[in-house]
């Protein structure tokens, strides 16, 4: 840390978190930590249930075959299932 104030604030934060039963419950093996991290994933995200196509040419092929219009989302990243916008 670059400053003593940030060290102090981080120390205070760490102490506060140690007092929090759930937040710093220690996983003492990689397997246990992996399970803990997976538990932090939301069980259901509605936008991941959409069958996104990332290739426009693939989308056009599907639209032609299924005779449907294309809903195109142009956003700053490319993968709404995984990335931030």
């Amino acid at each position: 840390m670059s400053t003593s104030s940030s060290r102090n604030s981080t120390l205070a934060l760490a102490l506060a978190l140690i007092g929090s039963a759930g937040a710093l419950r220690s996983a003492d093996s990689p397997e246990a930590l992996r399970a803990e991290l997976l538990a932090l994933q939301p069980p259901k995200l509605v936008w991941r249930e959409i069958d996104w196509n990332y290739c426009l040419l693939d989308g056009i092929a599907k639209a032609r075959a299924e005779k449907k219009p294309i809903l195109l989302w142009a956003f700053i990243n490319s993968d709404p299932a995984e990335e931030r916008c």
């Binding site: 840390m1 670059s2 940030s6 604030s9 981080t10 934060l13 760490a14 978190l17 929090s20 039963a21 759930g22 937040a23 710093l24 419950r25 220690s26 996983a27 093996s29 990689p30 930590l33 992996r34 803990e36 991290l37 997976l38 932090l40 994933q41 939301p42 995200l45 959409i50 069958d51 996104w52 196509n53 990332y54 290739c55 426009l56 040419l57 693939d58 989308g59 056009i60 092929a61 599907k62 639209a63 032609r64 299924e66 005779k67 449907k68 219009p69 294309i70 809903l71 195109l72 989302w73 142009a74 956003f75 700053i76 490319s78 993968d79 709404p80 995984e82 990335e83 931030r84 916008c85």
Partner: protein
């Protein structure tokens, strides 16, 4: 939506850059007709834009827009006759001028040829680790909120750890021979950069709008994990903080301060990082005040403020998970380091520039002198558009700047000239 439309997601940047190939030509034509670089469009089955929309008058207008677009699709299902592209700033209340629908044609059965990479494909060097990040708001005593819609409740992101970045970690680990050692700042900073709530604009470690960070502090240690062969235990702390009263351009004001305590494990096999598991717990203060809306903060439907975002003023405990796994074989190419598209390399360099700027601001002339010869070479490579080499050179510069800035002023000395 799933039953009535084919959903396609594209990076807005791919619609506004020169690149070869039919798909890129089509993306540019679609992007050219749009009212903004980002947005939602409905296309017919030949890829022509029926309607563009940026925002909606209210929630009910979202479904009305989809119905409206389906009706237009019924009239213009393909490119057999010319028509006009409708463009809505806000549907249905604020409409801009129509433009003629583009005429780029995709042949029936047409796909990618072998010479042009699909703009949606990312190809990595073998050994690249892909890390997925999830952030959750904690309600009390480690219990997570079940809400995942709003940005202060849930965040997600992804980043890649290249073999080059892995080498920096492995060198530190190997030198320490399994004993506790500091993770190089450049490596640790990448781990924590994506652990924050909120949208891209409020990144406290690598702000895309160039807002200066008050804190970019990382301190991570790594050591052999006893009883778990091949695994290393990681502990660390991070503090990122960025604040802007009024951003140039759109006038947005924001603040994001994230302080986390980390623990985790890394697995190293054959000089490769093959697994990264990290958990960060702590507190975050997030404020976003969209520009130009001083009288409307917190009011009105969210769908009426999509580009600027809704007002957020929140503080609370958060937990982040990072799970890194190797890129799949089909995502890699032995020549990826050299064969990556120039625009990808250029983007990679742009992402590192805030770190360089940070060193310049905080270290001043003393620190920058230590890398002056390397900087000249970097500038030369950039001028010659040799982005792959320039990116590696910038990694080297940042590594030396990290080392130099950690040394007290009197002890700092220029590094030995590079032999590469």
């Amino acid at each position: 939506m799933q039953s009535d439309f084919v959903a396609v997601s594209v990076a807005a940047g791919n619609m506004h850059r020169p690149a070869a190939g039919l798909e890129n030509e089509l993306l540019r034509a679609i992007g050219k007709s749009g009212p903004a670089p980002q947005g939602i469009a409905v296309l017919n089955a030949d890829g022509q834009v029926l309607d563009w929309v940026l925002m909606f008058d209210d929630d009910a207008s979202v479904l009305k827009f989809l119905d409206h677009a389906r009706q237009r699709f019924a009239v213009h299902p393909d490119n057999s006759a010319p028509f006009m592209t409708e463009r809505y700033q806000r549907f249905p209340g604020s409409k801009r001028d129509d433009v003629a629908a583009h005429t780029v044609t995709v042949p029936k059965g047409g796909g990618h040829d072998d010479t042009v990479r699909c703009p949606a494909d990312s190809i990595y060097e073998p050994g690249t680790l892909i890390a997925k990040v999830a952030g959750r708001r904690v309600i009390e005593e480690g219990r997570l909120t079940g809400d995942t819609v709003n940005q202060e409740d849930y965040s997600q992101d992804r980043f890649v750890i290249t073999p080059g970045t892995q080498r920096q970690l492995l060198e530190a680990v190997n030198k320490a021979d399994g004993k506790r050692v500091r993770v190089p700042d450049q490596v640790a900073r990448q781990w924590v950069t994506y652990a924050y709530m909120g949208m891209l604009d409020v990144n406290p470690f690598n702000n895309p709008a160039g807002a200066t960070s008050d804190h970019k502090d990382v301190a991570f240690d790594i050591e052999t994990a006893g009883g778990h062969p091949g695994w290393y235990r990681i502990t660390g702390e991070s503090h990122g903080s960025v604040k802007t009263e009024r951003r140039q351009g759109d006038g947005a004001g924001f603040e994001n301060d994230v302080q986390l305590t980390w623990r985790g494990f890394a697995r190293i096999e054959n000089d490769r990082l093959v697994s990264l598991l990290l958990r960060g717990d702590g507190d975050e203060r997030l404020m976003w005040n969209p520009g130009g809306l001083p009288g409307a903060i917190g009011r009105g439907p969210e769908v009426a403020n999509l580009p600027a975002g809704r007002h957020v003023d929140w503080k609370g405990p958060v937990s982040f998970s990072i799970i890194g796994t190797p890129a799949k074989a089909e995502q890699t190419s032995p020549t990826a380091a050299g064969a990556a598209a120039p625009e990808d390399r250029h983007r990679e360099i742009q992402a590192k520039i805030p770190q360089l700027r940070d060193h310049m601001e905080k270290g001043g002339a003393r620190v920058m002198q230590t890398v002056a010869p390397l900087m000249q070479e970097f500038q030369k490579l950039m001028r010659e558009q040799r982005f792959d080499e320039a990116s590696k050179q910038l990694d080297k510069i940042l590594g030396q700047l990290d080392a130099a800035s950690a040394v007290p002023e009197k002890a700092a000395a220029p590094p030995k000239p590079s032999t590469n």
